[in-house]
Homo-oligomer: 354 residues x 2
Amino acid sequence: MGENGSPERLGGSVRKVTLADVAAKVGVSAITVSRALRSPEKVSKTLQRKIKKAIADLGYVPDPAARALASGRTNVIGVLIPSVTNNVFSDVMRGMYEAIEPTTFDLQLGNTRYSPLMEEDLLKVFLSQKPAGLVITGIDQSKTARTMLQSATCPIVQIMETGPNPIDMMIGFSHYDAAAAATTHLIDAGSRFPAFVGARMDPRTQRRFAGFKDTCERAGVFSRERLITTPEPSTVTLGASLFANLISQQPEIDAVLCNNDDLALGILFEAQRRHMAIPEELMICGFNDLEMMAVAEPPVTSVRTHRHEMGRRSIEMLVRQIENPDAEASKIIDLGFDVISRRSTARRGPRLGS
Amino acid sequence: MGENGSPERLGGSVRKVTLADVAAKVGVSAITVSRALRSPEKVSKTLQRKIKKAIADLGYVPDPAARALASGRTNVIGVLIPSVTNNVFSDVMRGMYEAIEPTTFDLQLGNTRYSPLMEEDLLKVFLSQKPAGLVITGIDQSKTARTMLQSATCPIVQIMETGPNPIDMMIGFSHYDAAAAATTHLIDAGSRFPAFVGARMDPRTQRRFAGFKDTCERAGVFSRERLITTPEPSTVTLGASLFANLISQQPEIDAVLCNNDDLALGILFEAQRRHMAIPEELMICGFNDLEMMAVAEPPVTSVRTHRHEMGRRSIEMLVRQIENPDAEASKIIDLGFDVISRRSTARRGPRLGS
DNA sequence: CTGTTAGCGCGTTCAC
DNA sequence: GTGAACGCGCTAACAG
């Protein structure tokens, strides 16, 4: 091989291989190598080959910081999510990762912890990195955050929810309508004393509760006594204990709309512990339709939301805008929801299998 | 206010506020502002105040790319995780975010999808960003990846598992021992026909199976017929269907060690559907002890691993090394595990509460 | 299709 | 305690 086959080492630490090194080895200028990397169509086939080989031989990796500084752009798409450790967002993130993989963009996650202030701070950090695009959760950004977003130069998509004043693009569904539909389902199935179990009341939860409340009122079955919430985040355990509290105060309850499936599962377990017949004595409806709800025994009715698709398409929308800024695109996409009604499939007879 | 109070706009887009702008406003040189930001103790109190005010007035935000280029460092800690959407890693990540918050570092997540090749690629990307530190999952890096890591100049911590040849630091536990302990628990409780239910057999799962197998063999109760796996990732639904398959082939099974709690929960539901008495007819043992296992009805025995602590301490270890590179620190931390044995707390009598 | 020149915004290294 | 000069690695804008 040539005069300089592998990354040279000076005093034990590797000296960075730069564009100039590659250029020198091939006998061209740095900019040509740069072009071969970013717009190969502008470089002759022969050079492309030689450059590619030199890059491999030298083990050259572009420096993203230098690239960002020189060009004023990055290939990072920033994603602001209330809780990266929440099942609901797991599905969204899975969709995002799927969509980002075939592209040259990278995803960078930020954890806002449901705090508008943290969201603002993270936004500042993200914007300082000149992202290629931004995903942000919900429609309840602080005034400051909205201002920052509006003056950002990259495409932005708000996810999880639809609403009247998109910053740029938007993909989600109406939490109010979804809760209203679930409530209607419970009432149609015969509930006269429906309850709502929430946990931490973030803005989306509040809109769900509004959908529940209005629907109940219209049917003449609303009572504020049948609402229970706490400031804590949802867990299965919390669902069980909230329900235990609630049912001891309001024993007439015949149906529960839960703010999410974790709470619903906890209620299911607590009901089993109390030998309550489901759904005869108690109808349970979750929210999100996590994978496990279909196989729970007894199975749990839930509101299916299209989280995976939402994640995937949010990234696709961004990438399309980034690569083709002037193309007209639908700005607001409502993915809707489905109330998935389930009944037990358990055998009525004795045990099987031995 | 002065000659230049707010970010100037040129043609509708904000011109970036730089160090020089702040410096000009205060009447000092750029480097002084830089120092005021990074080592305030080297700048007089008066100047500090004036500079801070100017920064706020101008809305100056440092450019991380320029900073990285000039200094050769960043404040990013890179985290490579097989699946950011897996419950197990959610707890780890929660711990990491907790630990990173009081520091000046940022976390950047990479999703390796359990693929050593993707891990290699992401590692290359991460290293090109000159991270302040790296977290990487497990001890099964490819040879190339190990080489890259070994010649990295930042501290590195391997998580989830302990083993003989740490790249740098390590925090985790022995999956072999944990599975062996759980198996012993099942055998001591009377199992003569224990089964192992896995899903995708990643390296950690394989070591768990080895612990199960060796323990069973020592007790004379091993049979390869009582092992079931698939290439798919674990879900609750998958647990139910794998168990349905397994029990129809091997009806004598009296205990199941599951590779994780999702599978265990699916098995629990499937067993309920078949009206099998738990634990009399079937003992179920999960792995990880997710929050929901304690409240499941009947409750499920599981192996508790200290994932949250692992995440938190991995970051703490890194930060300590970064800020104090020569301090001696324990390189390998074994967090251990606990077999949490559970029995039903359901009331034996009739339904309560109405 | 390829090269030249200039500079992105900041930190390092020295000087004062 | 503060400043001047230089360069990090790359790309934009123009030239040929």
